[in-house]
Protein backbone atom coordinates (compact mmCIF):
# COMPACT_ATOMS: atom_id res chain seq x y z
CA UNK A 1 0.00 0.00 0.00
CA UNK A 2 1.28 3.43 -0.86
CA UNK A 3 -0.47 6.72 -0.15
CA UNK A 4 0.20 10.35 -0.82
CA UNK A 5 -1.77 13.42 0.26
CA UNK A 6 -1.96 16.40 -2.00
CA UNK A 7 -4.12 19.52 -1.53
CA UNK A 8 -6.32 17.79 1.04
CA UNK A 9 -6.97 14.68 -1.06
CA UNK A 10 -5.26 11.37 -0.45
CA UNK A 11 -4.45 8.95 -3.25
CA UNK A 12 -4.02 5.43 -1.87
CA UNK A 13 -2.80 2.59 -4.07
CA UNK A 14 -3.05 -1.06 -3.08
CA UNK A 15 -0.02 -2.67 -4.69
CA UNK A 16 -1.38 -6.17 -4.23
CA UNK A 17 -4.80 -5.81 -5.80
CA UNK A 18 -4.28 -3.12 -8.44
CA UNK A 19 -7.06 -1.00 -6.97
CA UNK A 20 -6.49 2.64 -6.16
CA UNK A 21 -8.55 5.04 -4.10
CA UNK A 22 -9.26 8.69 -3.62
CA UNK A 23 -10.08 10.05 -0.17
CA UNK A 24 -11.26 13.63 -0.16
CA UNK A 25 -12.92 15.88 2.41
CA UNK A 26 -13.94 14.08 5.61
CA UNK A 27 -12.43 10.83 4.29
CA UNK A 28 -9.07 12.58 3.76
CA UNK A 29 -9.17 13.99 7.31
CA UNK A 30 -9.93 10.59 8.84
CA UNK A 31 -7.20 8.99 6.73
CA UNK A 32 -4.57 11.42 7.96
CA UNK A 33 -5.62 10.70 11.54
CA UNK A 34 -5.30 6.97 10.86
CA UNK A 35 -1.93 7.45 9.19
CA UNK A 36 -0.61 9.01 12.38
CA UNK A 37 -1.84 5.92 14.27
CA UNK A 38 -4.90 5.74 16.51
CA UNK A 39 -7.47 3.37 17.94
CA UNK A 40 -11.07 3.11 16.79
CA UNK A 41 -12.23 5.00 19.85
CA UNK A 42 -9.64 7.72 19.41
CA UNK A 43 -10.59 8.19 15.77
CA UNK A 44 -14.29 8.49 16.62
CA UNK A 45 -13.58 10.99 19.40
CA UNK A 46 -11.32 13.09 17.17
CA UNK A 47 -13.96 13.11 14.44
CA UNK A 48 -16.69 14.12 16.89
CA UNK A 49 -14.55 16.95 18.24
CA UNK A 50 -13.72 18.17 14.76
CA UNK A 51 -16.99 18.03 12.84
CA UNK A 52 -20.24 19.87 13.29
CA UNK A 53 -22.80 17.04 13.47
CA UNK A 54 -24.62 14.83 15.96
CA UNK A 55 -22.02 12.73 17.79
CA UNK A 56 -23.93 9.50 17.04
CA UNK A 57 -24.02 10.35 13.33
CA UNK A 58 -20.28 11.05 13.22
CA UNK A 59 -19.53 7.89 15.21
CA UNK A 60 -21.62 5.65 12.97
CA UNK A 61 -20.17 7.12 9.76
CA UNK A 62 -16.61 6.90 11.08
CA UNK A 63 -16.97 3.27 12.13
CA UNK A 64 -18.58 2.35 8.80
CA UNK A 65 -15.69 4.06 6.99
CA UNK A 66 -13.14 2.20 9.13
CA UNK A 67 -14.80 -1.11 8.32
CA UNK A 68 -14.71 -0.27 4.62
CA UNK A 69 -10.96 0.49 4.82
CA UNK A 70 -10.41 -2.81 6.62
CA UNK A 71 -12.40 -4.69 4.02
CA UNK A 72 -10.35 -3.11 1.22
CA UNK A 73 -7.20 -4.12 3.12
CA UNK A 74 -5.97 -0.54 3.19
CA UNK A 75 -5.50 -0.71 6.94
CA UNK A 76 -5.06 -3.48 9.46
CA UNK A 77 -6.41 -3.51 12.95
CA UNK A 78 -4.16 -4.61 15.75
CA UNK A 79 -5.82 -6.99 18.17
CA UNK A 80 -6.93 -5.81 21.56
CA UNK A 81 -8.78 -2.71 20.49
CA UNK A 82 -12.31 -2.39 21.70
CA UNK A 83 -15.12 -1.10 19.55
CA UNK A 84 -15.90 2.49 20.47
CA UNK A 85 -18.84 3.27 22.66
CA UNK A 86 -20.69 6.48 21.77
CA UNK A 87 -19.40 9.09 24.14
CA UNK A 88 -19.91 12.70 24.94
CA UNK A 89 -17.09 14.26 22.98
CA UNK A 90 -17.39 17.95 22.23
CA UNK A 91 -18.94 19.01 18.95
CA UNK A 92 -16.63 20.56 16.37
CA UNK A 93 -17.16 23.30 13.82
CA UNK A 94 -16.07 21.82 10.50
CA UNK A 95 -18.85 20.83 8.11
CA UNK A 96 -19.55 17.09 8.07
CA UNK A 97 -20.64 14.77 5.32
CA UNK A 98 -20.28 10.98 5.39
CA UNK A 99 -16.72 10.02 4.34
CA UNK A 100 -16.51 8.49 0.87
CA UNK A 101 -13.90 6.04 -0.34
CA UNK A 102 -13.71 6.37 -4.12
CA UNK A 103 -12.51 3.16 -5.70
CA UNK A 104 -10.84 2.75 -9.10
CA UNK A 105 -10.21 -0.70 -10.55
CA UNK A 106 -9.21 -0.12 -14.18
CA UNK A 107 -5.52 -0.77 -13.43
CA UNK A 108 -6.08 -4.32 -12.22
CA UNK A 109 -5.55 -5.77 -15.70
CA UNK A 110 -2.00 -4.40 -15.76
CA UNK A 111 -1.13 -6.42 -12.70
CA UNK A 112 -0.76 -9.46 -14.90
CA UNK A 113 1.34 -7.85 -17.58
CA UNK A 114 4.68 -6.80 -16.20
CA UNK A 115 7.31 -8.65 -14.23
CA UNK A 116 7.53 -7.28 -10.73
CA UNK A 117 10.92 -6.21 -9.61
CA UNK A 118 11.70 -5.23 -6.12
CA UNK A 119 14.50 -2.82 -5.47
CA UNK A 120 15.28 -0.96 -2.30
CA UNK A 121 14.22 2.52 -3.31
CA UNK A 122 16.24 4.28 -0.67
CA UNK A 123 19.52 3.07 -2.10
CA UNK A 124 18.55 1.56 -5.43
CA UNK A 125 19.97 -1.33 -7.37
CA UNK A 126 21.47 -3.73 -6.48
CA UNK A 127 20.43 -3.66 -2.87
CA UNK A 128 17.79 -5.90 -1.41
CA UNK A 129 14.53 -4.45 -0.28
CA UNK A 130 14.54 -4.83 3.46
CA UNK A 131 11.33 -6.46 4.57
Amino acid sequence: MVHEAIDGETIAIHLGTGTYYSLDGVAGVLWSELASGCTRAELVTRAQERFDAESATVAAATVAFLDELLEEQLIVERPGQEAPAPQGAGRGSEPFSPPILERYTEMQEFMLVDPLHEVDVTIGWPNVKAE
Binding site: M107, M111, D114, P115, H117, V119, G124, P126, K129
Partner: protein
Protein backbone atom coordinates in the same frame (compact mmCIF):
# COMPACT_ATOMS: atom_id res chain seq x y z
CA UNK B 1 9.11 -28.72 -8.43
CA UNK B 2 9.49 -26.12 -5.71
CA UNK B 3 10.89 -22.63 -5.75
CA UNK B 4 14.67 -22.65 -6.04
CA UNK B 5 16.64 -21.85 -2.92
CA UNK B 6 19.20 -19.05 -2.82
CA UNK B 7 21.98 -21.63 -3.28
CA UNK B 8 20.20 -23.22 -6.25
CA UNK B 9 19.75 -19.83 -7.87
CA UNK B 10 23.41 -19.01 -7.27
CA UNK B 11 24.40 -22.25 -9.03
CA UNK B 12 21.97 -21.57 -11.85
CA UNK B 13 23.37 -18.07 -12.35
CA UNK B 14 26.84 -19.57 -12.79
CA UNK B 15 25.55 -22.02 -15.38
CA UNK B 16 23.72 -19.18 -17.13
CA UNK B 17 26.96 -17.17 -17.19
CA UNK B 18 28.61 -20.15 -18.90
CA UNK B 19 25.79 -20.37 -21.44
CA UNK B 20 26.17 -16.64 -22.12
CA UNK B 21 29.97 -17.00 -22.48
CA UNK B 22 29.48 -19.84 -24.96
CA UNK B 23 27.01 -17.74 -26.97
CA UNK B 24 29.47 -14.84 -26.99
CA UNK B 25 32.35 -17.09 -28.06
CA UNK B 26 30.37 -18.66 -30.89
CA UNK B 27 29.77 -15.47 -32.84
CA UNK B 28 29.82 -11.71 -32.84
CA UNK B 29 28.95 -9.97 -29.59
CA UNK B 30 28.03 -6.38 -28.98
CA UNK B 31 29.62 -4.65 -26.02
CA UNK B 32 28.53 -1.12 -25.29
CA UNK B 33 28.19 1.33 -22.46
CA UNK B 34 24.71 2.73 -22.04
CA UNK B 35 24.10 5.97 -20.20
CA UNK B 36 20.68 6.58 -18.63
CA UNK B 37 20.48 9.89 -16.81
CA UNK B 38 23.84 9.75 -15.01
CA UNK B 39 24.03 5.98 -14.66
CA UNK B 40 26.39 3.86 -16.75
CA UNK B 41 25.38 0.32 -17.61
CA UNK B 42 27.64 -2.12 -19.45
CA UNK B 43 25.60 -4.10 -21.97
CA UNK B 44 26.78 -7.25 -23.70
CA UNK B 45 24.56 -8.96 -26.27
CA UNK B 46 25.61 -12.25 -27.84
CA UNK B 47 24.77 -12.56 -31.52
CA UNK B 48 24.58 -9.91 -34.20
CA UNK B 49 20.94 -10.47 -35.07
CA UNK B 50 19.79 -10.24 -31.47
CA UNK B 51 21.95 -7.16 -30.88
CA UNK B 52 20.52 -5.48 -33.99
CA UNK B 53 16.96 -6.19 -32.81
CA UNK B 54 17.50 -4.94 -29.28
CA UNK B 55 19.76 -1.94 -29.63
CA UNK B 56 18.07 0.23 -32.27
CA UNK B 57 15.63 1.84 -29.78
CA UNK B 58 18.43 2.53 -27.30
CA UNK B 59 21.07 3.59 -29.84
CA UNK B 60 21.02 7.15 -28.50
CA UNK B 61 21.90 5.86 -25.06
CA UNK B 62 25.19 4.32 -26.24
CA UNK B 63 27.80 6.66 -24.79
CA UNK B 64 31.26 6.38 -23.30
CA UNK B 65 31.25 5.56 -19.60
CA UNK B 66 31.70 8.63 -17.45
CA UNK B 67 31.39 7.19 -13.97
CA UNK B 68 31.54 3.92 -12.06
CA UNK B 69 29.49 1.10 -13.57
CA UNK B 70 26.02 0.93 -12.08
CA UNK B 71 25.23 -2.54 -13.45
CA UNK B 72 26.37 -5.07 -16.05
CA UNK B 73 23.74 -6.67 -18.23
CA UNK B 74 24.36 -9.76 -20.35
CA UNK B 75 21.82 -10.79 -23.00
CA UNK B 76 21.67 -13.91 -25.15
CA UNK B 77 19.26 -16.23 -26.89
CA UNK B 78 18.64 -19.80 -25.82
CA UNK B 79 20.97 -22.18 -27.64
CA UNK B 80 19.26 -24.56 -30.05
CA UNK B 81 20.82 -27.54 -28.31
CA UNK B 82 21.51 -28.41 -24.71
CA UNK B 83 19.36 -25.65 -23.32
CA UNK B 84 20.00 -25.00 -19.66
CA UNK B 85 17.06 -26.43 -17.73
CA UNK B 86 15.39 -23.98 -15.38
CA UNK B 87 15.55 -24.94 -11.70
CA UNK B 88 11.87 -24.10 -11.29
CA UNK B 89 8.60 -25.11 -12.86
CA UNK B 90 5.82 -22.97 -14.29
CA UNK B 91 3.86 -23.56 -11.10
CA UNK B 92 6.61 -21.75 -9.18
CA UNK B 93 6.21 -18.58 -11.22
CA UNK B 94 4.19 -16.05 -9.24
CA UNK B 95 2.40 -12.86 -10.22
CA UNK B 96 4.36 -10.67 -12.64
CA UNK B 97 6.71 -13.54 -13.41
CA UNK B 98 8.28 -13.61 -9.99
CA UNK B 99 10.17 -16.75 -9.11
CA UNK B 100 12.35 -15.33 -6.36
CA UNK B 101 13.08 -11.66 -5.81
CA UNK B 102 13.73 -11.32 -2.12
CA UNK B 103 17.36 -12.26 -1.65
CA UNK B 104 20.77 -11.69 -3.19
CA UNK B 105 19.80 -13.69 -6.27
CA UNK B 106 16.66 -12.92 -8.20
CA UNK B 107 14.81 -14.73 -10.94
CA UNK B 108 11.87 -13.48 -12.98
CA UNK B 109 10.32 -15.62 -15.69
CA UNK B 110 7.90 -14.02 -18.13
CA UNK B 111 5.80 -17.02 -19.14
CA UNK B 112 4.17 -15.03 -21.95
CA UNK B 113 7.38 -14.31 -23.82
CA UNK B 114 9.65 -16.96 -22.30
CA UNK B 115 12.24 -14.40 -21.24
CA UNK B 116 14.16 -15.00 -18.03
CA UNK B 117 15.82 -12.29 -15.94
CA UNK B 118 18.44 -13.34 -13.39
CA UNK B 119 20.21 -11.04 -11.03
CA UNK B 120 22.99 -11.03 -8.49
CA UNK B 121 22.55 -7.94 -6.38
CA UNK B 122 25.98 -8.15 -4.77
CA UNK B 123 27.75 -8.11 -8.11
CA UNK B 124 25.26 -5.71 -9.73
CA UNK B 125 24.95 -8.28 -12.49
CA UNK B 126 21.83 -8.95 -14.53
CA UNK B 127 21.40 -11.74 -17.07
CA UNK B 128 18.57 -11.70 -19.58
CA UNK B 129 17.83 -14.69 -21.76
CA UNK B 130 15.32 -14.61 -24.60
CA UNK B 131 14.01 -17.69 -26.46
CA UNK B 132 15.37 -16.51 -29.84
CA UNK B 133 15.85 -13.30 -31.74
CA UNK B 134 13.25 -14.38 -34.31
CA UNK B 135 10.60 -14.79 -31.63
CA UNK B 136 11.01 -11.47 -29.83
CA UNK B 137 7.63 -9.96 -28.98
CA UNK B 138 6.86 -6.74 -30.88
CA UNK B 139 6.88 -4.71 -27.66
CA UNK B 140 10.28 -6.16 -26.79
CA UNK B 141 11.62 -4.89 -30.11
CA UNK B 142 9.95 -1.49 -29.59
CA UNK B 143 11.00 -1.03 -25.95
CA UNK B 144 13.70 -3.67 -25.48
CA UNK B 145 15.31 -4.93 -22.28
CA UNK B 146 12.63 -3.40 -20.12
CA UNK B 147 12.96 -5.97 -17.33
CA UNK B 148 16.74 -5.77 -16.84
CA UNK B 149 17.00 -2.04 -17.49
CA UNK B 150 14.11 -1.08 -15.28
CA UNK B 151 15.38 -3.30 -12.54
CA UNK B 152 18.76 -1.63 -12.69
CA UNK B 153 17.55 1.95 -12.99
CA UNK B 154 15.14 2.31 -10.05
CA UNK B 155 16.74 4.40 -7.37
CA UNK B 156 16.22 6.94 -4.63
CA UNK B 157 15.52 9.97 -6.81
CA UNK B 158 15.22 8.33 -10.17
CA UNK B 159 11.87 6.81 -11.01
CA UNK B 160 10.59 4.92 -13.99
CA UNK B 161 7.48 6.69 -15.09
CA UNK B 162 4.83 5.66 -17.56
CA UNK B 163 4.66 8.98 -19.33
CA UNK B 164 6.00 11.17 -22.10
CA UNK B 165 7.97 14.41 -22.23
CA UNK B 166 8.35 16.99 -25.00
CA UNK B 167 9.56 20.57 -25.08
CA UNK B 168 12.75 22.39 -25.93
CA UNK B 169 15.98 23.51 -24.34
CA UNK B 170 14.91 27.14 -23.98
CA UNK B 171 11.48 26.68 -22.45
CA UNK B 172 11.84 23.27 -20.83
CA UNK B 173 9.32 20.49 -21.20
CA UNK B 174 5.94 19.15 -20.22
CA UNK B 175 5.39 15.78 -18.60
CA UNK B 176 2.63 13.91 -20.40
CA UNK B 177 0.87 11.49 -18.05
CA UNK B 178 -2.05 9.14 -17.94
CA UNK B 179 -2.93 5.57 -18.78
CA UNK B 180 -2.41 3.94 -22.16
CA UNK B 181 -4.68 5.23 -24.91
CA UNK B 182 -5.20 8.64 -23.32
CA UNK B 183 -3.27 10.61 -25.94
CA UNK B 184 0.33 10.76 -24.68
CA UNK B 185 1.83 9.45 -27.92
CA UNK B 186 -0.45 11.57 -30.12
CA UNK B 187 0.50 14.70 -28.19
CA UNK B 188 4.20 13.82 -28.16
CA UNK B 189 4.27 13.11 -31.90
CA UNK B 190 2.22 16.21 -32.73
CA UNK B 191 4.86 18.17 -30.83
CA UNK B 192 7.63 16.37 -32.67
CA UNK B 193 6.05 17.25 -36.02
CA UNK B 194 5.82 20.88 -34.91
CA UNK B 195 9.52 21.03 -34.05
CA UNK B 196 9.50 20.29 -30.33
CA UNK B 197 12.16 18.06 -28.84
CA UNK B 198 11.28 14.55 -27.71
CA UNK B 199 12.34 12.65 -24.59
CA UNK B 200 9.60 10.03 -24.44
CA UNK B 201 6.05 9.18 -25.35
CA UNK B 202 5.62 6.17 -23.08
CA UNK B 203 8.45 5.49 -20.61
CA UNK B 204 10.92 7.88 -19.08
CA UNK B 205 13.22 8.27 -16.13
CA UNK B 206 12.10 11.00 -13.77
CA UNK B 207 14.58 12.81 -11.57
CA UNK B 208 12.00 13.98 -9.07
CA UNK B 209 14.30 16.29 -7.14
CA UNK B 210 15.42 18.17 -10.23
CA UNK B 211 12.03 17.82 -12.00
CA UNK B 212 13.86 16.51 -15.04
CA UNK B 213 12.73 13.84 -17.50
CA UNK B 214 15.40 11.58 -19.01
CA UNK B 215 15.19 9.58 -22.21
CA UNK B 216 15.20 5.77 -22.24
CA UNK B 217 13.96 4.79 -25.71
CA UNK B 218 14.26 6.56 -29.02
CA UNK B 219 11.27 4.79 -30.49
CA UNK B 220 7.62 5.79 -30.50
CA UNK B 221 4.92 3.16 -30.88
CA UNK B 222 2.05 3.93 -33.26
CA UNK B 223 -1.18 2.00 -33.71
CA UNK B 224 -3.10 1.94 -37.00
CA UNK B 225 -5.11 5.08 -36.16
CA UNK B 226 -1.97 7.00 -35.28
CA UNK B 227 -0.25 5.88 -38.50
CA UNK B 228 -3.22 7.37 -40.36
CA UNK B 229 -3.00 10.60 -38.36
CA UNK B 230 0.75 10.98 -38.93
CA UNK B 231 1.25 10.17 -42.63
CA UNK B 232 4.72 11.76 -42.73
CA UNK B 233 5.88 9.49 -39.89
CA UNK B 234 4.01 6.49 -41.34
CA UNK B 235 6.04 6.80 -44.55
CA UNK B 236 9.21 6.33 -42.52
CA UNK B 237 7.93 3.31 -40.60
CA UNK B 238 9.57 0.33 -42.23
CA UNK B 239 6.93 -2.34 -41.63
CA UNK B 240 3.18 -2.04 -41.27
CA UNK B 241 2.22 -3.70 -37.98
CA UNK B 242 0.12 -6.87 -37.96
CA UNK B 243 -3.34 -6.43 -36.42
CA UNK B 244 -3.22 -5.77 -32.68
CA UNK B 245 0.38 -4.64 -32.78
CA UNK B 246 1.99 -1.23 -33.05
CA UNK B 247 4.55 0.06 -35.49
CA UNK B 248 7.68 1.63 -34.09
CA UNK B 249 8.92 4.90 -35.37
CA UNK B 250 12.65 5.30 -34.92
CA UNK B 251 13.08 8.91 -33.84
CA UNK B 252 16.83 8.56 -33.32
CA UNK B 253 17.19 7.51 -36.94
CA UNK B 254 14.66 9.70 -38.71
CA UNK B 255 14.67 12.83 -36.49
CA UNK B 256 18.00 12.65 -34.67
CA UNK B 257 17.96 16.35 -33.79
CA UNK B 258 14.58 15.98 -32.11
CA UNK B 259 15.69 13.31 -29.66
CA UNK B 260 17.24 14.88 -26.56
CA UNK B 261 18.72 13.28 -23.45
CA UNK B 262 16.58 15.21 -21.01
CA UNK B 263 14.27 18.14 -20.46
CA UNK B 264 13.68 20.19 -17.34
CA UNK B 265 9.96 19.92 -16.64
CA UNK B 266 7.85 23.07 -16.37
CA UNK B 267 4.32 21.71 -16.40
CA UNK B 268 2.31 18.51 -16.18
CA UNK B 269 -0.19 17.78 -18.91
CA UNK B 270 -2.73 14.98 -18.70
CA UNK B 271 -4.05 14.31 -22.19
CA UNK B 272 -7.53 12.88 -22.70
CA UNK B 273 -8.89 11.61 -25.97
CA UNK B 274 -11.22 14.36 -27.05
CA UNK B 275 -11.97 15.05 -30.69
CA UNK B 276 -13.10 18.35 -32.19
CA UNK B 277 -11.04 21.25 -30.92
CA UNK B 278 -8.20 20.74 -28.46
CA UNK B 279 -8.86 22.32 -25.09
CA UNK B 280 -6.31 22.97 -22.33
CA UNK B 281 -7.57 23.69 -18.85
CA UNK B 282 -6.06 23.85 -15.40
CA UNK B 283 -6.26 20.64 -13.39
CA UNK B 284 -6.13 20.32 -9.63
CA UNK B 285 -3.04 18.60 -8.30
CA UNK B 286 -4.81 15.64 -6.76
CA UNK B 287 -6.48 14.83 -10.08
CA UNK B 288 -3.11 15.08 -11.81
CA UNK B 289 -1.51 12.66 -9.35
CA UNK B 290 -4.49 10.32 -9.73
CA UNK B 291 -3.94 10.31 -13.48
CA UNK B 292 -0.16 9.93 -13.28
CA UNK B 293 0.56 7.55 -10.44
CA UNK B 294 -1.49 4.37 -10.89
CA UNK B 295 -0.34 3.62 -14.41
CA UNK B 296 3.30 3.97 -13.37
CA UNK B 297 2.79 1.84 -10.27
CA UNK B 298 1.01 -0.95 -12.08
CA UNK B 299 2.78 -0.97 -15.41
CA UNK B 300 6.21 -0.47 -13.90
CA UNK B 301 5.87 -1.88 -10.41
CA UNK B 302 9.59 -2.06 -9.91
CA UNK B 303 10.00 0.21 -6.92
CA UNK B 304 7.00 -0.84 -4.84
CA UNK B 305 5.15 2.39 -5.24
CA UNK B 306 8.00 4.79 -4.46
CA UNK B 307 7.33 6.35 -7.85
CA UNK B 308 4.17 7.83 -6.30
CA UNK B 309 6.27 9.92 -3.93
CA UNK B 310 8.48 11.05 -6.80
CA UNK B 311 5.49 12.00 -8.92
CA UNK B 312 3.86 13.79 -5.99
CA UNK B 313 7.03 15.84 -5.60
CA UNK B 314 6.82 17.16 -9.17
CA UNK B 315 3.03 17.52 -9.04
CA UNK B 316 3.40 19.80 -6.00
CA UNK B 317 5.99 21.88 -7.80
CA UNK B 318 4.59 22.27 -11.30
CA UNK B 319 1.35 23.65 -12.72
CA UNK B 320 -1.00 20.88 -13.90
CA UNK B 321 -3.29 20.86 -16.90
CA UNK B 322 -5.75 18.60 -18.63
CA UNK B 323 -5.60 18.55 -22.41
CA UNK B 324 -8.55 17.33 -24.45
CA UNK B 325 -6.78 16.05 -27.56
CA UNK B 326 -8.57 17.39 -30.63
CA UNK B 327 -8.50 16.38 -34.27
CA UNK B 328 -6.17 19.09 -35.55
CA UNK B 329 -2.62 18.02 -34.69
CA UNK B 330 -1.06 21.40 -35.54
CA UNK B 331 -3.50 23.08 -33.18
CA UNK B 332 -2.70 20.49 -30.50
CA UNK B 333 1.04 21.10 -30.83
CA UNK B 334 0.51 24.88 -30.83
CA UNK B 335 -1.39 24.53 -27.56
CA UNK B 336 1.58 22.77 -25.96
CA UNK B 337 3.90 25.41 -27.45
CA UNK B 338 1.77 28.24 -26.03
CA UNK B 339 1.78 26.54 -22.65
CA UNK B 340 5.58 26.33 -22.75
CA UNK B 341 5.69 30.05 -23.61
CA UNK B 342 3.69 30.72 -20.47
CA UNK B 343 5.39 28.38 -18.02
CA UNK B 344 8.83 28.09 -19.58
CA UNK B 345 10.28 31.47 -18.74
CA UNK B 346 13.40 30.83 -16.79
CA UNK B 347 13.56 32.25 -13.31
CA UNK B 348 16.46 34.73 -13.12
CA UNK B 349 19.34 33.26 -11.14
Amino acid sequence: MSKPSEAELADFLELAEEELATAIASGEALEQNLRFARLDIALTIAGEALAAQLTAPIAARIKPAAGPLHARIGVWAEPSERVLALPWGEEDVGPMGRVRVDGRFIAVHDLGTGTVTLGDRERARILYRVPSWEQLAWWERAAPLRAPLFWALSGPNLHLVHGGAIGDGARGGVLLGGPGGSGKTTTALAGLEAGLRYVADDYLLLDARAARAWNIYGTAKLDADQLARFPALAREVSDAPPPGQKAHYDIARHRPDALVDSLELRAIVIPRVGGGTSVLRALDRAAALRALAPSSVFQLPFDRGAVVGGLAKVVRRLPCFELAVGDDLAELAAMVGDLLDRVGERTPA
